[in-house]
């Protein structure tokens, strides 16, 4: 009986330990050529560990604020796709997550999203010309009114 209890306890302990072992990239989607922050956790977060991914190679995560952290750079020529990120702790336990890489793209021109069916004449010119005409009329009217009054 005590033996099975100990076994149960051990299973529970390893389960919690496994839950504490993780690795994540932030952002989890990154452009090729950009940097991502790696945050990881091992059973013992006072010793450095290794994170390996085909997206950025191998980096060493160092203890910081109770976690293991590092910054990794995805090379500009890395192809778009999903890449595994694998943490290996000093004790041999490991965890994985996924980093999504997308191609860096900055189209210099905006998309052609109109075919012109509702394009009327440009109202700005009409507004400016009409407004100036109205101001001139107002000035003339004002001048006329004051002259008549004086006469």
């Amino acid at each position: 009986m005590p033996a099975s209890l100990v076994a149960l306890l051990l299973v529970a302990l390893t389960a919690t330990a496994a839950a504490d072992v993780f690795v994540e990239a932030n952002p989890s989607t990154a452009e090729s050529g950009s940097s991502v922050s790696i945050r990881a956790s091992c059973p013992d977060n006072t010793a450095a560990a290794t994170v390996v991914s085909p997206a950025f190679g191998a980096v060493t995560v160092q203890p910081q604020f109770g976690f293991l952290t590092a910054t990794a750079t995805v090379p500009a020529n890395r192809l778009a796709g999903d890449y595994e990120v694998r943490l290996t702790c000093p004790g041999g336990t490991s965890a994985t997550s996924t980093l999504h890489v997308v191609n860096r793209n900055r189209p210099s021109r905006g998309p052609a999203t109109g075919l012109g069916g509702t394009a009327g004449p440009d109202p700005s010119r009409l507004l400016i010309v009409g407004g100036l005409v109205a101001i001139c009329l107002a000035a003339m009217l004002g001048v006329m009114a004051t002259r008549r009054r004086r006469a």
Partner: protein, 205 residues
């Protein structure tokens, strides 16, 4: 001039003057694209979900009564994001080279403001309000819920690339259509209207 009309001349002159100043201001504002900037900036959410990649299938903007299918588009010959072809102008195009809606980064969805024979799906897009909801249904049957932050207009050759395409700090959405002056059938519209929105929630379809 009668005494009566003379008494009216002053107020009419003042009213004409004010109307003229207003019209000139509105015309200059329209020509320089100042107006859309008046409705700016709902701050981005502090907390947000992050979804796995999955292509979008439908787009809904309840406040504009827009409900349209979405299909994947690539790049056009001039390097810009391809707009849906004329015979599919009632659908929106998701740029498949970028993130899908719900992933970190800006998902780009483009749609036509008009077709050759009248308005199209994004005709009223410039009138969307900051804080409005945009819902994108994805092929994994999750709905990504976005909230509009700002609506802005840029010259087609002067899009702020890093803001539109390069912000990977959170899951976001960019709805892009055309606006500004019509330059003729060969050149299209002068500007792009862009709605900047951020992911705030997700649920099962």
């Amino acid at each position: 001039m009668t005494v009566h009309s003379r008494r009216l001349a002053g107020p009419i002159a003042v009213a004409l003057f004010l109307a003229g100043v207003f019209a000139v201001g509105a015309g200059l504002g329209w020509a320089t694209g100042v107006f859309p900037d008046f409705s700016r900036n709902e701050p981005p959410p502090l907390a947000f979900p992050v979804l796995d990649p999955s292509p979008p299938t439908r787009l809904a903007i309840p406040s504009l009564d827009v409900r349209v299918p979405v299909f994947a588009v690539g790049l056009a010959r001039d390097g810009s994001i391809a707009a849906p072809p004329a015979d599919r102008h009632r659908e929106a195009g998701w740029y498949q080279g970028g993130p899908s809606p719900g992933q970190f980064g800006p998902a780009i969805i483009v749609g036509h403001v008009d077709a050759r024979d009248g308005p199209s799906i994004f005709h009223d897009l410039a009138g969307i309000r900051p804080g409005a909801t945009i819902e994108v249904t994805r092929s994994d049957r999750t709905v990504a819920v976005f909230r509009v932050g700002s609506i802005e207009r840029f010259g087609k050759a002067a899009l702020p690339g890093d803001r539109v395409y390069g912000d990977y700090s959170r899951p976001a959405l960019r709805l892009i259509t055309c606006g500004g002056r019509w330059l003729g059938s060969g050149r299209g519209y002068a500007d792009n209207v862009i709605v900047f929105a951020d992911l705030v929630d997700s649920r099962k379809a």
